[in-house]
Symmetry: C2
Subunit: 102 residues, 2 copies
């Protein structure tokens, strides 16, 4: 499992429209090949900056299959107008994990 | 719930010792006030760069309680020698989440 992390700076004052757009776009990701889930986070220390985290089976499920799909075009149509700059994207491979027992 | 994300650049060639040190240090986090879990990830696009993600009830559980604890001192004793530079730390608040049904 791979995590895509897209850091997105949103145009000042467009936070609500951006968040609503991401909520509307979530089904586009959830039905994509290899996608297991998506979440949106606010970076507390940085004004206007969000991180979108998407779980994929492989890097290529994101960079090849999703980016070349009509779902990607639709994703950008819904939220791209609120981006202040192109998202900065990295991919993470989990090496270790531990949880506190519930 | 808050996510602490610490981006850590490791001294070239010390990846294995760093990962082993994080594995050894995990119990220090898991017994800390407000901690729910911890994971370590490799940033695939950036050589030597890792992200440590820790789930806390509040930002202060990390920045006040943990950083002023003996567990933090021990954490830095175990792995601090492998840091190429001070970690870059941000805190995330989750706004949206959706998963593909299993």
């Amino acid at each position: 499992m791979i995590l895509e992390v897209a850091e997105i700076r949103v145009k000042r004052g467009h936070d609500e429209e951006f968040i609503d757009g991401v909520a509307d776009a979530m089904p586009l990701f959830l039905r994509a090949k290899g996608c297991h889930g998506i979440s949106l986070h606010k970076v507390l220390e940085l004004q206007d900056v969000y991180r979108l985290v998407v779980k994929w089976d492989t890097v290529e499920d994101h960079t090849v299959h999703f980016r070349n799909s009509s779902e990607f075009t639709e994703w950008r149509r819904l939220v791209g107008c609120y981006f202040e700059a192109p998202p900065v994207v990295t991919h993470l491979e989990q090496l270790l994990e531990a949880s506190v027992p519930a």
